[in-house]
Amino acid sequence: MIRPHRSHPLWFAFALHRVSGLGLALFLPAHFYLLSLALTDPVSLDSYLALAENPLVKVAEFGLVFLLAVHFFGGLRLMALEWLPWSGRQKSLAAGAVAAAFFVSGTFFLQAV
């Protein structure tokens, strides 16, 4: 996977954006299904939501929030790269996007535990 020509920061930023986007897209149907239980089966919705007290589920939630945040900040970087005047600091901006995503998802995790 990580062939020699790929081992540089902006390629990793691309890979992170792709993997996070794919992960979020695959999670969406489950997310939507769970919420629609409010209409059809409120009792089982509550039993699913109670699962969120499980520490493993909390870590998984942290992972999902990280994917969302890193796709969000990484996507903002790409929009700026494509539609705003050029900036030569793409590596720093990509690193900043990952840092911001850790900050946001870390805040979520600390509130969740």
Binding site: F32, L39, L49, E61, V65, F72, E82
Partner: protein, 110 residues
């Protein structure tokens, strides 16, 4: 594989979702503080036109955005193209729209 039209759709939905995603994350951080329950979520959202619009727009934008994103991945990693690729793209979009629309209706219906 990604022409101008799909590219603009992908970027415009991204820009629409930018503030919505921030709001979504903020609500998650706020709501998770003392555990999640159906009553708490529905108490916030049910009967609210504002939340209906917030999540309604979110679902439309994310369905288009995710369908186009998965289209690119499918083409570049598995080599699917032309008609099959278009069928896949719009099927994903319709399925997400239907499931997402149902979820929005479930948590906000008046």
């Amino acid at each position: 594989m990604l022409d101008m039209r799909l590219y603009m759709l992908q970027r415009i939905t991204a820009l629409i979702m930018a503030p919505l995603t921030l709001g979504h994350i903020a609500v998650m951080i706020y709501a998770v503080q003392d555990g999640l329950s159906a009553a708490e979520i529905l108490g916030r959202t049910q009967g609210s036109l504002a939340w209906f619009l917030f999540y309604g727009i979110f679902v439309v934008a994310v369905s288009l955005h995710a369908a186009i994103g998965l289209r690119v991945i499918l083409h570049e990693t598995l080599g699917v193209k032309e008609a099959a690729l278009s069928v896949f793209t719009w099927s994903v979009c319709v399925i997400l729209l239907a499931m997402g629309g149902r979820a929005v209706w479930a948590v906000t219906f008046l």
